[in-house]
């Protein structure tokens, strides 16, 4: 129980620093911390496979992709955030988010859900149970996610297809004076 509080505080610190830091690289690193903390809480909640999947997919794949894009787009740049086009948009966003989120958290923390008295089965959260559910009653959703990933791959290829560069124009370089000509000019 104490462990959850400690991990939760660390995660919230990481989450706030994702939002407030200036450099996107620091924000990506803080998000990796949040992800690792989430994996630890998954372990405490007996979701072993999901904890492993969280680390592999988020820390291993998604955040590496983020870091690639961040280094590709913002390397060596120190850009201030642009001015707001709508005045007061920032404060309106902060207040709306705080009211909604804190209200939600208070309501949840004061209403405890029904507690089951039966013991948890030993295989709960393992790969076996999850696989039975995924390939049984939830197979349509699994197929949907698979289709979505395929669509994502095709979408990325379509969005970032290379421009039609005119390679001919690169060959029209002015013909430089050769070294031999230059030497003869010098002797004269």
């Amino acid at each position: 129980m104490v462990g959850i509080f400690i991990i939760g505080i660390l995660m919230l610190v990481g989450a706030v620093s994702v939002v407030v830091v200036r450099q996107p690289v620091h924000s990506a690193l803080a998000l990796i911390g949040v992800t690792i903390g989430l994996a630890m809480i998954y372990l405490i909640l007996q979701a072993e496979f999901l904890a492993v999947a969280q680390v592999i997919v988020y820390a291993g794949a998604i955040m590496v992709l983020f870091l690639f894009v961040v280094t590709l787009l913002t390397a060596g740049k120190e850009e201030m955030e642009a001015e707001d086009t709508l005045s007061g948009q920032r404060w309106a966003g902060i207040i709306t988010g705080l009211v909604v989120g804190l209200g939600l958290a208070v309501v949840i923390a004061t209403h405890s859900p029904v507690k089951l008295s039966t013991a948890l089965s030993g295989s709960f959260g393992g790969l076996h149970d999850l696989g039975h559910q995924l390939w049984g009653p939830y197979f349509a959703m699994l197929a949907g996610v698979a289709l979505m990933l395929l669509t994502g791959v095709i979408g990325v290829l379509v969005l970032n297809r290379p421009d039609q560069v005119n390679y001919k124009s690169r060959l029209d370089l002015p013909s430089g004076v050769s070294l031999v000509d230059a030497e003869q000019e010098g002797k004269k």
């Binding site: 939760g8 809480i41 979701a47 642009a82």
Partner: protein
């Protein structure tokens, strides 16, 4: 026994921080990371309730959330890179000028 409501409250706070990040920041990369945090908060709530009600369906939903988030990251980062190649600025308001 873990009191699940604290974990769900943590998920709500995480969701709140992510939502504030999306509303306040103007760098599309940081907005996108905040959105990822909101996905993660939803998955955490699903897993907490799965633990409470001894039902694997919540974990199945969390697994599907992880898969969906992976697809979303691919498309979203491709969009950000495409917009950056045209406009050479990382500012979300650049996209609003697409309307002409």
């Amino acid at each position: 026994m873990i009191s699940v409501q604290y974990v769900v409250a943590l998920a709500a706070l995480l969701f709140m921080v992510g939502a504030v990040g999306v509303l306040v920041r103007k760098n599309p990369l940081i907005m996108f990371m905040s959105a990822e945090m909101m996905w993660n908060a939803a998955a955490l709530a699903f897993i907490a309730f799965a633990r409470n009600y001894h039902d694997m369906s919540g974990q199945v939903m969390a697994f599907l959330i992880i898969g969906t988030a992976a697809a979303e990251v691919g498309i979203g980062l491709a969009l950000i890179v495409a917009v950056y190649h045209r406009r050479h600025r990382l500012d979300i308001d650049e996209i609003s000028r697409l309307k002409g």
